[in-house]
Amino acid sequence: MGWFSKRKRTAPTPVKKDDIWVKCHACTAHVYREEWLSNLKVCPKCNFHDRISFQERLGLIIDDGSFHEFDKDLKAPDPLKFVDAKGRYADKTRQTTEKTGLNESVITGRGKIHGMRVVLAIMDFRFLGGSLGSGTGEKILSAARFALKHKMPYIVISASGGARMHEGILSLMQMAKTCAGIAQLHEAGLPYISVLTHPTTGGVSASFAMVGDVNIAEPKAMIGFAGRRVIEQTIKEELPDDFQTAEYLLEHGFIDHIVQRTEMKDCLYRILQYWSSK
């Protein structure tokens, strides 16, 4: 369930700042960098929706200027004082924060979608592969509590390689913790929409990301529990190309709807009207 193992098979976009080409992860086509960027990092050849930053996502979903962030200063704790071959986990998070400006793998807050008030969590893969740390879980739960208290819909946009092994068992416990928050929304009859983007795997797929009233995915997003290589070792054969894609999960009954990035905002708005109409 570690995000590192996942990161290997979803290597970062091999784009150097000065490259004019981008190679698509999904279809391996080479695309003009400019074209790809202006297309919101969606491959014009195969429609693969690559990762985007939370800022980009926010701009696509939330009305300009309406976002108020929660727990902005909450930093990833280091409960295990974890040290591995490369050094201290605490140093790693600090360096990541310096590099990305992110304190954790999720940003939470409230905002408006076409004027409708929502609570929102957006995961960002740049922070340790979007892994599920104690800070991640805390923020996701705390936003759920806000939604519960103010009777607002809750939307979580996932992008994660899974658990964060540097926080050991406490990373695992975030699965239970976040699901407890979702369970309360379910009991209160409040909408919870899960948006699964590339990639949503491991512990995140096996917790809050999979229990939406509606599960929406972006085209070709990789979504699954176990890693592809682990599965191939288990079953001793190669997996089909579409295995663990959004389309595969749709066919197998776990995704309600696959939506283009550009249409996500409208889609969320339209769906939530079915709740807010009362």
Binding site: G2, P77, L172, A176, A206, F208, G224, F225, T234
Partner: protein
């Protein structure tokens, strides 16, 4: 077991065994030697097991003779009426459950079944449950809620089954659903980790009001081998990873993830089934009794609060 921390113990045990066999014959007499060796064994065992490294605990937790769920059922429960199936697709043998009686208490029992014979292990996927298993467990927990029975959940799994069919049928969804439903299940849930608590596959039946752990069991987000091969880029560094992951009972108690450690007999559960079973039974009955005193609403509130605090340091 690459680790030979119990080499001396095993040697002593086998010598005692030998002498005892010889001792059966009338012409020889090894009583005093046996007694001497037994004392030495006891001392060595106590010494060794009082300071096991995390990696050594991993070995004990995975020991091939360690009691599995069916052993506990036979030793602890006065009745077990196994119930089968997820009412949807199949009946997973890696996850079993049913009505059970412990002391005078009637409960719903669920848990991973690892198996000991090769045949069993294949049938049970070595205790790695499939989505059907998690869905069966949830169905039984809902039955417990309806019949107002406490749930006892036994964890012992390397992890959820990582097969292609398990993915296709929604391993992630099945576990996620269980976590969500268990958080608000309206009956007491007592969880015990008896061997390996392997990641999401363990947690999928692991949300509870009381989470207990046998002293030589482990509970971890990833196997030490897996962690080592990723973070150390060398599977042989598993002992280092085991230490870093804090996967032993005392660490987990300190982190607030578990509520109580059940002490195993010196030498580990696999050396004394009866004493282990007694300790497990005592703890389960005690916690069941304790939790049944709560009003359900209060119980669920406390459960929520507990998980809401996880990792909030």
């Amino acid at each position: 077991m690459e680790d030979s921390f119990d080499k001396t113990i095993l040697e002593l045990e086998s010598r005692i065994e030998e002498l005892k066999k010889l001792n059966m014959k009338p012409e020889v007499q090894f009583d005093s030697e046996i007694s001497e060796l037994e004392k030495k064994l006891k001392r060595t065992m106590k010494k060794t097991f009082s300071k096991l490294t995390p990696w050594q605990v991993v070995q004990v937790a995975r020991h091939k003779n360690r009691p599995v769920l069916r052993d506990y059922i036979a030793m602890i429960f006065d009745e077990f009426i196994e119930l089968h199936g997820d009412r949807c697709f199949g009946d997973d043998h890696g996850m079993i459950g049913g009505f059970a009686m412990i002391g005078k208490k009637r409960v719903i029992l669920i848990g991973h079944q690892k198996g000991k014979t090769v045949e069993d292990q294949v049938k049970n996927n070595f205790g790695m449950a499939s989505p059907d298993g998690y869905r069966k467990a949830l169905r039984l927990m809902k039955l417990a809620e309806k019949y107002k029975l406490p749930v006892l959940s036994f964890i012992d799994t390397p992890g959820a089954y990582p097969g292609a069919d398990a993915e296709a049928r929604g391993q992630a969804e099945a576990i996620a659903k269980n976590l969500t439903e268990m958080a608000v299940l309206k009956t007491p849930i007592i969880v015990i980790v008896t061997g390996e608590g392997g990641s999401g596959g363990a947690l999928g039946i692991g949300v509870g009001d009381a989470v207990l752990m046998l002293s030589n069991s482990i509970y971890s987000v990833i196997s030490p081998e897996g962690c080592a091969s990723i973070l150390w880029r060398d599977g042989a560094k598993a002992p280092e990873a085991a230490a870093a992951l804090k996967l032993t009972a005392p660490s987990l108690l300190e982190l607030g993830v578990i509520d109580e450690i059940i002490q195993e007999p010196v030498g580990g559960a696999h050396r004394d089934y009866a004493a282990t079973a007694d300790a497990v039974k005592e703890a389960l009955v005690r916690h069941t009794r304790r939790l049944q005193r709560y009003k359900i609403r209060k119980l669920v509130e406390k459960r929520y609060d507990k998980y809401a605090r996880m990792g909030k340091l």
